[in-house]
Amino acid sequence: MAVQSAHPKWTELAVGTAITEPGGARQNRTGDWRSSRPVWKHSECIRCGVCVMFCPEGCIQFNLEVEGYPNADLEYCKGCGICAHECPTACIAMVDEEE
């Protein structure tokens, strides 16, 4: 089956509504659920990776462009705040999304 549409008609569903293309969850840009986003204070971050481990979306990575500090992929970050809660140096602030 070709790439499944996010809004298929009932006649377009796979048998038993199975998902026949692996990795389809990536199409769900869960970032638009977010009401606040994590912001790292680099002066206090020890780059331990706890936030990377705890992120339930797996959307936090070390960013080599910013001296290897972690940052969140805002396409998928739901703003749950688990990273901020778990950070041993409390260097992550959850900042309200204004728009």
Binding site: P8, W10, L13, G16, T17, A18, I19
Partner: protein
């Protein structure tokens, strides 16, 4: 070569599953289904049937195992009854939504309470909306034949749906009757090797049973409704194929002596056989009564019902279960709704009979015919009645 032998119906069903070369039997024993799975367990232990018999700790596990094995492409059978079927409840919806062609025999029995191991249809009527194909057998021959047919239908690629063969607990499961048993070669000719539409395969991964968010759930349900309704065509076709292979034709709705009848009674299951005798008796005394036997319950055979009932003025419906606090009989309420938009609507008289193993004798059918003929005379529909109730 086929053989004609005397067999207990439960044994005939188990042997039929053996003839169909089921790969997996996962079941939990419950009266009055016990002999079916007991005998299957024997067939597997004796090496007659090359299958995995999975003994489980509950019916919830039995049907869950069946979903898993069916999804891997194994021909899967289970059987249950009453409380066991009720315990399967939540998984039954999943089996049909995932289009898993499991075959299940249900030995119909009442639900508790009071605790009752005896026969009526309250177990299956509580599972009306599970999305399975549901059919009723009247005798041992039919129970065996429909079990074989059920695999063919369920596994038909246009259908790919779980299928229940209902038979009345004790009054059919424990009855010894003459049965014409087909040979294995002819069953294999009728029932091709199971090729699933979709299956769990490490080389071609799929996700079965994902979340359906509000954005898609409606479409899933429509697909399911369409699929089960459209199964009607393949059902009639495969029943015809069965007749070609084995010489016994089963129809979604059967009529018995409805020609020139003034009133009709509608029945389901094994009591239809008693009802036919009661029709003969009444007719021998000049009473123009006839019988309609509803064999296919889901998908509901509307057109067959309309043809069978034709322009009859009075139709009695004998239910074997109660819809508490609603229209009393679940079957009668469906029959009424089927006729609501028709130009010709018979006067429908509701009976509830044979609850929790209460015998329904010829004399009881005579009384039902009396009521129907009286309704024809007066044109007044009597309130629903419980046959044989002490009051």
């Amino acid at each position: 070569m086929e053989t004609r032998v005397g067999k207990e119906t439960s044994i005939a069903i188990a042997d039929a599953v053996g003839l169909c070369d089921a790969d997996i039997v996962a079941a939990y024993p419950i009266t009055p289904q016990t002999h079916i799975v007991e005998h299957l367990s024997e067939l597997v232990a004796d090496g007659v049937l090359d299958a995995e018999f999975i003994p489980v700790e509950s019916e919830h596990s039995a049907i869950s195992v069946c979903c898993g094995t069916s999804a891997t492409g194994a021909r899967t059978f289970t059987a249950t009854s009453s409380q066991g079927l009720a315990l399967m409840h939540e998984i039954l919806f999943i089996a049909s939504a995932l289009r898993l062609p499991i075959v299940m025999v249900v030995a119909n029995r009442s639900l508790s309470g009071p605790i009752s191991i005896w026969n009526d249809h309250s177990d299956i009527m509580a599972e009306r909306d599970i999305g399975w194909v549901q059919i009723f057998a009247e005798n041992a021959q039919e129970a065996q034949d429909l079990t074989i047919w059920a695999f063919r239908l369920a596994e038909d690629k246009r259908v790919s749906l779980p299928t229940i063969v209902n038979l009345d607990g004790f009054i059919l499961t424990h009855m010894i009757e003459p049965v014409v048993v087909p040979d294995k070669t002819s069953v294999q000719k009728f029932l091709p090797i199971f090729e699933p539409v979709l299956r769990l395969d490490v080389d071609k991964p799929v996700s079965i049973g994902p979340v359906g968010i509000p954005d898609i759930y409606t479409e899933c349900r429509q697909a399911q409704q369409h699929n089960l309704t459209q199964a009607y065509g393949p059902i009639v076709e495969t029943l015809g194929e069965f007749a070609k292979h084995f010489g016994r034709q089963y129809l979604p709705v059967e009529s018995y002596r409805t020609e020139d009848a003034e009133v009709l009674l509608l029945t389901m299951g094994a009591l239809s056989e008693t009802a036919m005798e009661a029709v003969d008796n009444r007719r021998s005394r000049g009473g123009r009564v006839g019988l309609v036997r509803l064999r296919l319950w889901r998908p509901f055979p509307f057109e067959d019902l309309y043809r069978a009932v034709s322009d009859i003025p009075v139709l009695g419906v004998m239910d074997r279960a109660i819809s508490f606090g609603g229209p009393i009989g679940p079957v009668a309420s469906e029959i009424k709704s089927a006729f609501y938009h028709r130009n010709h609507r018979p006067n429908i008289v509701e009976f509830v009979a044979g609850l929790g193993g209460r015998d329904v004798a010829l004399a009881d059918f005579e009384k039902m015919f009396d009521v129907l003929l009286e309704t024809k005379e007066t044109g007044k529909i009597p309130p629903p009645r419980m046959v044989g109730l002490r009051e």
